[in-house]
Symmetry: C2
Subunit: 528 residues, 2 copies
């Protein structure tokens, strides 16, 4: 198997202990990319976990400045190899080289790494909390073992298991990462891991700071996330595969943060349609079809009240969906998933307004698909009618009136986002006040007058939400330093001698700039 | 079944839809208390969940001041009925009426309620986070459904399901509570629930703010924690029963915070024994036998290096354990559990230095029990030798040298606390530096020169720790406002019109005192 790509374990690219291989395809041509990748056995996984546990102890001794330097150096090395990375990601994902990969996603990725470096250096994520009366002091710290990161198919850079948001957050807290590369872009992941290893060598970080395997069977994956020496897991991907891992991790009491699925309901209130129905039709179509609809925050459900303006909106969007070019999908599995999900929606009573069939684009593709259902039909089978069709598809739900719209909203599952469009004159305000409290508890991020597809990488972002959008409603996967808390444990020091405390908890503020909660007041000063 | 106590559902004390009954015993006399309590079916649980979901929406509309008033009024009502509560808790638990129940635990309970009221009023727990550039704003908010609280046997007031720490934290965030009373003190819980309902009536809170059932079978309990309309669960109790609930909640993607078991290792380094071995023997014995050892933070393992001073310590503590009076245990099940666990420890090679048999005290009791094992034997079966014997028992582990002590520490499971005693001259410092990084990642709270039994109710406290001490290493069950975050979801607002934002996120600081993170700087000022 000399032509099989090696895996990265404990600083060495070496042949996998493989139980099989797989060959990714270029989705635009449906042809193999020409590279062959291994399916790892438990042996590879256990070696990675042991090496990560040792690296975790080493990082703890090295200090934060090296972690920050590593992240910054990694960002530089990605930029230096940008052309090759973009070409590889384009070939593997079908996503446009420009602007998407080169102009948007790659800069976002290096920005995330640099924000993580800032957090590692300024220690803001540790949230020091000091009570002087009892001399009890606490902060967040690394988990003491590696973090497994399972990257999704739709962001080959920004959510990559060895360079993306979960990676950056885990590393910033001082945890080594064991990347499980997504099978749709192993070459991109390999190039990124090469640069990560180079950055570790450049900066003196342990070589096992970043390790990479490409694929395992379900049983080995379950062992990875539940191993006694693993710290936690970050997973972004399909609900089915994710729930297998969740069960294993939960049973072992290991934290696992998951982004599983989301259909991101958008409520358009009547006044907004009166004011700017035509404009909203275009806004919706653009948001839904962007990236061939393969965003976690793709607007998959639009909830409206029946009426003439709604009819006009439905006609306009149907026409736009039919006329818009059909994009390439990430993989054959995504195309198959669309067929299956659209079938489920149709079977539960949804009517096809546009598309609904395979093909129409270059390579793996599915027609831009718009479906419609009335509120009563939705309420008969809300589970089936919330099946996520990952791709360029959306379902319009037309409610008879606000009562029914609120009832539909009560049946929404947990989602990453929820949007409400309303008019500017206040006509929709009573409707808003009824529907917002219900929608609020179903979503992580609530938007006004804006489609959900943009996800700003800022500290107040919540890219999370109630199950089944994610596995826990209290955490975000995007936004630094917030996202770091997923990969940290709460460490309390009771009566510990001052010279033995972490610098963040000593009387003197370590930087003069670190915010600390001292006797319940935030302060940049010293204790006492 | 007219003599069976009623349950509290939706503001009404009504007969349970019961599938059986149980009669608590006075542990000091082993006689029934004379009260009969129902085992609820799914019907009771579902009614409670529906009522809580409605109450959650009502509380959201009412505002924070009512929540704070309710908590304060409840504290007052508990104080007004203190004598009756103490008498009932004493009869049901065997814990001393004074000082323990009347002088320590009841004041702690009302203090917690008042701290929760302060947090509900000052909103500190919402942690507002505002980015002005992107106009994205987030905070923590209520879960939108009831919180189920399962209270433990060992704190009839301070961890009671309808008055204790989890209750206070859940209510402070605006969540109604469905209490599952501990079967060992249902009368105490009933009296507390009467006062909680009274406080709700006094202050205008929804009557379903507090509901109470006493017992269910495992299947119904599993349904409670995994119901689509439940927000989250707090559980403190045995690992076995807890894991049944955890599996159900995890599968449904519902947060469940658990305090399951902890043996709280204490490391005594050689220099500390030289300096004050005799004193430490007394300190350890007192801590271990306090409350008949029935504390979550009871020191269940002492790790020392072999040597003459250790021998002296072993002899002294053996004698003290034998001579100390034997306390009453909370229940027959606790006595049985001691017998079972001590048997497991002996079977794995532990030698009995003192006690080891049932009885010796008034009512349900077990002799003060001290066991010993050498490091090599411990390392042969670390799992069995970490079996928690909940009660007046501890295991001394005598390691050959520091290498072995570190290896023993590597095999410790997750615990709530870990202590290290060292000398005052710095002789133990090299040992400390070796063992602390290993112990640190195994425990929630690390102490120096102090036994773990005291748990201060301060914001920086961590009464939590890695699994199996709890279900998640990032949260604390004690310490306000910190503990509230368990019963909250992260709510992000993206481009939401200012008048629609929660007060905490509007430009103007709602109180002028609320700390908010604005563009990554903590501030009590307004935005802009």
């Amino acid at each position: 198997m000399s032509d099989v790509q090696p895996i990265l374990i404990a600083g060495t690219w070496r042949p996998a202990d493989a139980e099989g291989t797989f060959e990714p395809k270029n989705p635009a041509t449906k042809e193999p990319t020409g590279e062959v990748y291994p399916v790892s056995t438990l042996k590879d996984v256990e070696e990675a976990i042991e090496a990560a546990a040792v690296a975790a102890e080493q990082i703890a001794e090295m200090g934060d400045e090296i972690v920050a330097s590593f992240l910054e150096r990694f960002a530089e090395r990605i930029e230096a190899r940008a052309d090759e990375l973009v070409a590889m990601a384009n070939a593997e994902s079908g996503l446009p080289a420009s602007p998407r990969l080169a102009g948007i996603e790659l800069p976002r990725t290096t920005d995330q790494l640099r924000q993580a470096a800032t957090a590692a250096r300024n220690r803001s994520w540790t949230m020091p909390n000091i009570d002087t009366g009892s001399n009890i002091r606490s902060l967040y710290g690394a988990l003491g073992g590696g973090v497994a990161v399972f990257g999704p198919n739709n962001f080959p850079f920004a959510f990559n298991s060895v360079a993306g948001g979960d990676f950056a957050a885990a590393i910033a807290a001082g945890n080594p990462v064991i990347g499980k590369g997504n099978s749709s872009h192993p070459g991109t992941t390999r190039l990124l891991a090469e640069e990560a290893l180079g950055a570790a060598e450049d900066t003196g970080m342990p070589k096992a700071t970043v390790q990479l395997i490409y694929r395992t069977n379900h049983e080995v994956g379950a062992r990875l996330v539940s191993h006694p020496k693993i710290g936690a897991t970050g997973y972004t991907g399909s609900r089915g595969a994710g729930l297998v891992l969740k069960e294993a991790a939960d049973k072992a009491g290991k934290p696992i943060y998951m982004e599983l699925s989301s259909i991101n309901p958008v409520v358009i209130l009547p006044g907004a349609l009166v004011e700017r129905g035509e404009e909203l039709a275009g806004e919706f179509t653009t948001s839904c079809l962007m990236g061939t609809g393969q965003f976690c925050t793709n607007p998959g459900v639009i909830l409206m009240l029946k009426g003439a303006n709604t009819d006009t909106f439905v006609q306009a969007t149907s026409a736009q969906f039919s006329e818009a070019p059909v994009g390439t999908m990430l993989t054959e599995a995504v195309e198959n998933g669309m067929e299956r999900s659209v079938g489920t929606l149709k079977g539960a009573g949804a009517e096809v307004l546009a598309g609904g069939e395979r093909g129409g684009g270059k390579g793996f593709s599915f027609q831009n698909t718009l479906l419609k259902v009335d509120g009563a039909t939705f309420l008969k089978d809300p589970e089936a009618l919330q099946e996520e069709a990952f791709g360029n598809e959306s379902l319009l739900i037309i409610a008879d009136d606000m009562d029914q719209a609120v009832e539909v909203t009560r049946h929404f599952e947990g989602n990453l986002t929820g949007c409400i469009y309303s008019d500017s004159k206040g006509e929709d305000e009573p409707h808003y006040r009824r529907i917002e409290p219900v929608l609020r508890k179903k979503v992580g991020r609530l938007l006004n007058d804006k489609m959900p597809t943009g996800v700003a990488v800022v500290p107040s972002m919540n890219h999370g939400g109630p199950y089944p959008a994610t596995g826990h409603p209290g955490f975000t996967a995007v936004g630094l330093p917030s996202s770091i808390s997923r990969f940290a444990m709460l460490e309390c020091y009771d009566n510990v001698r001052e010279h033995r405390l972490p610098a963040e908890l000593r009387d003197q503020n370590p930087s003069g700039a670190l915010w600390r909660l001292i006797d319940q007041q935030w302060s940049q000063g010293d204790v006492g």
